[in-house]
Symmetry: C2
Subunit: 315 residues, 2 copies
Amino acid sequence: MSILPTFQNIAQAAERIKPFVHRTPVLRSSWFDRQTGGEVFFKCENFQKVGAFKFRGACNAILKLPKEDGDKGIITHSSGNHAQAVALASKLCGYKATIVMPENAPKVKVAAVRGYGAEIVFCKSTIDAREETAQKIIDKTGATFIHPYNHPDVIAGQGTAVVELFDEVPDLDIILAPVGGGGLISGTAIAARHISTGIKVFGAEPEWADDAFRSFHSGKIEPVLRTDTAADGLRTSLGTLTFEAIQKFVDDIITVPESSIIRDMRHVWERMKIIIEPSCSVPVSVIMDRNIDLSGKKAGIILTGGNVDFDHLPW
Amino acid sequence: MSILPTFQNIAQAAERIKPFVHRTPVLRSSWFDRQTGGEVFFKCENFQKVGAFKFRGACNAILKLPKEDGDKGIITHSSGNHAQAVALASKLCGYKATIVMPENAPKVKVAAVRGYGAEIVFCKSTIDAREETAQKIIDKTGATFIHPYNHPDVIAGQGTAVVELFDEVPDLDIILAPVGGGGLISGTAIAARHISTGIKVFGAEPEWADDAFRSFHSGKIEPVLRTDTAADGLRTSLGTLTFEAIQKFVDDIITVPESSIIRDMRHVWERMKIIIEPSCSVPVSVIMDRNIDLSGKKAGIILTGGNVDFDHLPW
């Protein structure tokens, strides 16, 4: 039975992955400060390896494996940033990675995973087909499955971003991160609560993928009901571990409309000259829509990723 | 009669503008290093105030003015980054700025200039109409005209970017910058030659706006012959001062095709997760097309700006 990581686990993860990850910069923008009335600190995981925070969790989970397990191979199913993260982390450890991807996965994502040397096994585009395909390979090879979020070592790895942020800005009042499967917000909340007792931790979700918001209020895991939000990294329901972490350590989940998400993705591009993906702008919209009051406060936002299809922008 | 600035002038400009400009970061990319075989250092003026290096030159020229001149107002004609640069620098100095813009200037650019508090006077979209309109205002008000490139204080200001780059990377072998009117390459070459006697300085131009290339080889200022390059900041012919600086201090001008410019703009977006404008990717294409050999060498590139119309991308 898996249990939640402690702050100690996150601190160990930070040491473990340090030689492999980028220490990403913390950027400011006077324009966003003026718009919100606060001081906003952007932790730029869009500059992380593979272009997303996901590399932290995959790296920690794979580095922690005993070598005899790693030598049997690593496996996951994903068509998103976690696939690239597992592929690169496996390569750096000298392990063979197999990524199960839906047969309709975008070519650029398939090429990126292949570029990191992973083997790709295609399957039908349903969650059942993905799990069945992965299980068959595990039964045959003994490969280790790395879940994208409901995994204590993955959660601990994702929590390392906010540890670095606190290193640079020790007196933050508020932390915001988006919620998909919940790995990032779980690691972030566990770490932030330990470092600062007074901190407020908010999860941000699209209105069109508000399963964590509903779960937080109903007290049980609610499924995602639609999959059409532009924030394609957040179309996932919570896992048992991440739901537990959110219940224990997160102050609130705040939802924002699609129009705000797309508007603020563009604001970040225009004002900060950095590329963020739509999922990444969801917590930015929380502060731009003034769903929380930042007056005189210091807020940290984890900018989660920058993998965008430049042929299909959401505006 | 204007004369070229010296390194001393550039060093003074750096001190003068220091409290007003961002010290922009120098970024690396392992992908670009692998592609070119060298070590590439990107000086990110796309993160400069107003989103372009142009703020350095305008700021230096306006700060250097005697107050009694500044109080009569500042004027320029431009529909590009120089317009925003003059507007913001004037505002910071407490002077009134008038920007003469063509009546067909993009609305976003007009709004940006207005946002910095400048007055906009529209005119027909010819260079004669612009100059005539500006001259009428100068005759009436005594305002000081800030030329976008053929001005010693503007050239000195543009040269401060490479001074900062050398602060961080003292042993550069090569410096590259794009050439439009020539203000940036002039300031860059004067400074780089003084700091490092062995440095090679290259100007980069689109094949479709190769006036500096032709001027460099013919020994006289040649006009731009077409205005359809995607690198819209480089559709300008050289001035007398910038031509003199290029003849004296630049090793060569290298031209690249449109397809490379657009391809490498996208490479920077995808691999570095930062926004650069088309003009900015021209020197990147010089190294990606292997027009110069970077094997085992350290090359600095000035990334000039990040002001892009996201509704009209060049791919």
